[in-house]
Amino acid sequence: MASLFSLRGLSRQPLLSGVASSVTHTSMAPIRLLSTTTTLLSKAAKRAKAAKIGVTPRRNKGHQRSEFYARVKILKQNLFSPAPPPLRMARLRYLRHWTIHRAWLLFRRQQKEATHKERVRINAGMFNACEELRKVSGPGDRSEGYLYRVAMEKKGVWGLNAVPIEYARFQTDSPATTAWNHDWKR
């Protein structure tokens, strides 16, 4: 459940503007979705009258609101509002809450450890591949480690006239149908 705390700023501005816009658009037939009272109706009638006479409706005159007004207001409200109240639970409910919380922490830790392990494995695979390249000699009459040196080249990656790293491969609209062609031979 979203707390009242986080929803505090949301209620005012969009709602009012929505009402105003709906009124201006459908001034003669106002929508009465949920309300059973005549307030909206009467307001709309007044607006219509004002429009007919040629008087603009009274706005907050003097300062023009910026386009970020609503967002800034919400930010300010959430920045300077007091902290949300502490959770209040009876004892057993608290214990259940605690259990779930501990399980959640444990689960996240397990996930994190698994990800880390996988990354270490991938990194080690890269390292081993590079090591193989370094030891092998060729192609043709190339000396030992030639392939490694070529693989480690970073031409055009750094410097003023650098090419962004994204362009290290051909730019395509969609990924390749076969990610790696294992049968490729020079």
């Binding site: 004892r91 057993l92 259990t99 501990r102 399980a103 444990l106 397990q110």
Partner: protein
């Protein structure tokens, strides 16, 4: 009946009963009503049912009997009544909340992993132990280090296996934890460190226990002080009639095993009038007291053995006019398997004055691990207590000697002060207001 009324009605009934009882109490000055009172107190005690003998469901009127029988009631009275009304409810761990049950599954799987790990480590320890000292890589020293670190890891794993169990947590909060098990000791230590340990270390530093009595003190056990059933906060000023009898200590140890302990109570603030100084007086020494994490109560009045009690309790008294006396209670751990020679202690410290805890520590090879303290000042009962125990000095009031400044008097400053001499006779009517000496109404400083 509205919800509000339904809540308030039992409360109102309670209050009515209270007021009736109060009336009785007020009338108890009357000679006739004492019988009535007794009848009123005797009336509600009925025959205890089996539910009343169970610490989980005992009603308030049977609590005392149960406590006397050695069983502490569990939880709040409200909870006990709730349990009573619904005796065969589901146990906590089977409550049908989906998230809760899923969480328990995750935790159980983790626990199984930890237990498997413990088994593995124990086997590893056995394997390391089987290797001979000379054969081990790095020699016997390395082997000892390896074994110690493995054992430490196993202890850690034991705690980690149980630390997520809600039942264990619940049992600890109910005070039913078995202190022989590492997890409950872990919880107890965590709780102690969260407040009481900080408080006691603050008292040690703010009352200057550390340089004044011993050079170093790091408390590692929870020591609480009780006088006449009431807990005394560390550093509290205790009435001399209350501290006339020895206190009871509640000691919670956090490391396993039984050990022998020495208790020493020192007052470092005894005024030494001849030398214009203070000296330390020993108020109590008892040694060879067995303690373990499971037995926590240590009543100083119950220690009477010939090989235990060296110096009996001397009441804490402060002479009139002397500053407050710090009464520091130290718990010192003896070396494993070693006993303190109490006869020697008696002989050495027969006169309690000019006691030095540091020298005691080095003489008997003990190490301080627990600390608590209270304070005593002169109050209306002190004279009577001193008379009862034959302590001299109740008829003397000490006064602090006034220490005068060694600097000379300050020369007066300001325009007026400079123009006091006969040379400025014509200005005298304007030079009456001298700062610190006089004002418009006249001379303010006393001569």
């Amino acid at each position: 009946m509205s919800r509000c009324q339904s809540v308030a009605r039992p409360l109102a009934r309670q209050l009515q009963q209270r007021s009736v009882q109060q009336c009785l109490a007020i009338r108890s000055f009357n000679t006739t009503s004492s019988q009535l009172n007794a009848a009123a107190s005797a009336a509600p005690v009925a025959e205890p049912t089996p539910l009343d003998l169970d610490p989980n469901t005992v009603l308030p009127e049977f609590e005392d009997a149960l406590i006397k029988a050695g069983k502490m009631p569990v939880g709040s009275r409200r909870r006990r009544v709730a349990l009573r009304s619904n005796p065969n409810s589901l146990p906590f761990e089977q409550l049908p909340y989906q998230a809760f049950q899923e969480a328990r599954k995750i935790l159980a799987a983790d626990r199984e992993q930890k237990v498997a790990k413990i088994k593995e480590e124990v086997e590893k320890i056995a394997r390391v132990e089987a290797v001979e000292d000379s054969q081990f890589r790095g020699g016997p020293k390395m082997k000892a280090t390896r074994l110690a670190s493995l054992r430490k890891y196993v202890e850690e794993l034991k705690i980690k296996a149980d630390v997520n169990d809600p039942i264990v947590k619940k049992r600890f909060e109910d005070g039913l934890g078995d202190m022989n098990k590492p997890i409950y000791r872990y919880y107890a230590e965590k709780k102690w460190r969260s407040y009481d340990q900080r408080l006691i270390t603050q008292r040690i530093s703010q009352f200057h226990i550390v340089p004044d009595i011993i050079p170093k003190l790091v408390p590692t056990a929870d020591v609480q002080l009780y006088f006449r059933k009431a807990k005394v906060a560390p550093g509290e000023i205790v009435d001399s009639i209350v501290s006339e009898n020895p206190p009871r200590l509640r000691v919670q140890l956090f490391n396993p095993g039984e050990r022998l302990v020495t208790v020493v109570v020192v007052d470092p603030d005894v005024p030494d009038v001849e030398n214009d100084a203070f000296f330390k007086r020993c108020h109590y020494i008892a040694a060879n007291i067995p303690l373990s994490p499971t037995d926590t109560s240590l009543p100083l009045s119950k220690i009477k053995g010939d090989d235990q009690l060296a110096l009996p309790w001397l009441p804490a008294v402060a002479q009139k006019g002397s500053p407050y006396h710090r009464m520091a209670i130290f718990l010192l751990e003896q070396l494993p398997g070693e006993r303190v020679d109490v006869a020697k202690v008696k002989e050495l410290y027969a006169s309690r004055d000019k006691f030095s805890l540091k020298s005691f520590q080095s003489k008997f090879r003990v190490r301080p691990f627990g600390f608590n303290m209270f304070r005593s000042v002169w109050d209306e009962n002190t004279a009577a207590v001193m008379a009862r125990h034959g302590l001299p000095g109740a008829d003397i009031e000490l006064r602090t000697a006034r220490v005068h400044s060694l600097k000379g008097p300050v020369k007066l400053r300001g325009w007026e002060a400079k123009r006091q001499g006969p040379k400025y006779r014509q200005l005298w009517k304007y030079t009456k207001r001298i700062r610190g000496l006089s004002n418009a109404r006249g001379w303010t400083k006393r001569k």
